[in-house]
């Protein structure tokens, strides 16, 4: 029995060494948490950043923005992503802007309404207005079917503060789990209206984005912050001695051309990124010709 047990023990330690070895010796793993709305963007950025720094591994938990900020305060996460500006409760944290995102209000393409005021959207989602007949510009004559997100969603929190003035949305708003589900519901309901992220309301999604206060929900208007439901994604770091690798990663997201491409491809709007690729010295000759 004894020699066999020794062999098993030896095997186990060898196995443990092979599993744990590369993770501890070569690559540094950095933990982050926060907004679930920003998760698709940050995951794509992690992937692209591998080309810049192949030795760093990022692990991101989407638990929602406020929880992420708390994790950073408690030292559980090296960084957090947040979709709201800093509040007084965020003591000991530093916020920096990364890129822009927009929340669109969308209707079914069969609806002729094109432009709404924020106050009209608020009336619809607070059940003050329940008929399309009461909305100028609409050809629909049926009751409004409003679709939204459940109260745990980051998009809902943003919508609640930016449009509803902090009030809970009315009980007659059908609450769905995912951004895409709202788009599908509106695309299949002629009387539908819903709030959908920029990424899920583009061409091919089957919904029509509305102008808000005369401003279209598209990259150009979001970039200049003229579109009322534009918002920044924020990088949250501890105010004192933040992790160097993370600050470098944040700078890369904010300023590099490559990160700008990734952000735009994933459906958000790059805000501060370089507009042209960095010039490489040995290729200069080709460029000038």
């Amino acid at each position: 029995m004894a020699p066999r047990r020794k062999a098993i023990l030896g095997g186990l330690t060898a196995l443990a060494a092979t599993i744990a070895g590369p993770a501890t010796s070569q690559a540094a793993t950095i933990f982050g948490s926060g907004s679930s709305a920003s998760q698709p963007y940050i995951e794509a950025l992690f992937k692209a950043y591998k080309k810049v720094d192949p030795n760093t591994k990022f692990v991101y938990t989407a638990n929602n923005g406020n929880a992420g900020a708390k994790d950073v305060q408690d030292g559980k996460s090296a960084f957090a992503l947040q979709t709201r500006p800093p509040l007084p409760s965020d003591s000991g944290l530093s916020y920096s802007k990364l890129f822009l995102d927009g929340l669109c209000v969308a209707v079914n393409p069969a609806n002729t309404v094109n432009n709404l005021k924020i106050s009209q959207v608020r009336d619809i989602f607070l059940a003050t207005v329940t008929e399309w007949g009461a909305v100028p510009g609409s050809n629909q004559r049926s009751p409004i079917s409003a679709f939204g997100r459940n109260s745990t969603a980051g998009l809902y929190t943003f919508f609640q503060s930016a449009v509803l003035g902090g009030v809970t949305q009315a009980s007659n708003v059908t609450q769905l789990d995912k951004d895409g589900e709202v788009a599908v519901a509106v695309s299949r309901n002629q009387a539908g209206i819903g709030y959908v992220g920029l990424a899920n309301s583009g061409p091919g999604s089957g919904v029509k984005r509305l102008k808000l206060e005369g401003q279209p929900c598209q990259a150009s208007a979001i970039k200049t912050l003229r579109y009322p439901l534009s918002r920044y994604a924020w990088l949250v770091l501890p105010a004192s001695s933040p992790n160097r690798t993370v600050t470098r990663f944040g700078d890369w997201i904010r300023t590099s051309y490559a990160a700008g491409l990734v952000i735009a491809r994933e459906g958000a709007v790059p805000a501060f990124n370089a507009k042209t690729p960095p010039k490489k010295k040995h290729k200069k000759k080709h460029r000038t010709t």
Partner: protein, 332 residues
Amino acid sequence: MALVSPHRASRGPLPDQRAELMLGALVCGVLLFVLLLLVFVFREAWPSFHHNGFGWFGPGGNPDRQVQAIFTSTDLGQKPVYTFHAWPIVWGTLVTTAGAVCLSFVSALFVAVFVVEFAPEWIRRVLEPVVRLLASVPSVIFGLLGVLVLVPFIGQHVITDGNRRSVAYIVSLSGYSLLAGVLILTLMIAPLMIAVFSDGLRAVPRGWLEGSLGLGINRWRTFWKIGVRTARPALVAGTVLATARALGETVMLAMVTGGVSFAPNPADGLIFFVEPTRPLAATILQTAEQLTSAPMRHTIFAMAAVRLFSAAMLSLAGWAAKQPLKRYGVRT
């Protein structure tokens, strides 16, 4: 151990005995795991029950707003809030489960009787694999089917603008409804019932049926009076299994029932069926993102505890219902 001679005992147990010990240890491990699970869930759930008492199950306010109040109470560093009255959610669970189980019990019984007794051989050969396949389709597929086909259909062809206007300020009748949930849930649990029912019906001794036929009773009557009666324990077992699945169904119901913690009101007449709701398991799924807040975690675990308790009670009730039926015939 006593049967083993001292000579063998010194060299440890025989290989087959070792296997027995291993299996025994495995079973004990599983039991221990279940016990720990129960302890953990109920310990986490206790604060929520403690604060609300039996009012937890009762009506009072809108659970969605209560959830938000619970969640944000820790954000601002205030005293944690625990007030939670889950009646709309509990009611939604009861109605969707009962509706789907009733519908699928009737249809599954007819299908099983047909498959076992009346179907020609070739139909049987096609039907059985199809039923088994249906039983193994993941629920998210059914959910997509509901969102893309059934929900828009109900929204456009079942609900009228008049219906919508009558409740416009309270809920939106958009097709995401109790009816959609019940119909798809029926489709999901019926195959399970059909499989168990037909196994039970097939186990009815041929002699009993032949005896009845020999007395000149027709096939239909014979099968209902003897076959189905004898297979009652199997019917109970199938129903319990299917009810457990219906109670636990999460993703599909979260997708098609409308996600509002609203208790559909039978007093509204036929509109009752197209009103939105949200069952227990779907609520757990949707609020799981808020586990980071301690009072919210206790509330979520309280819902899980209710769900766990109902599952345990269900299998107990199934076992109790089977006892008096056992002496009539086949065991399952």
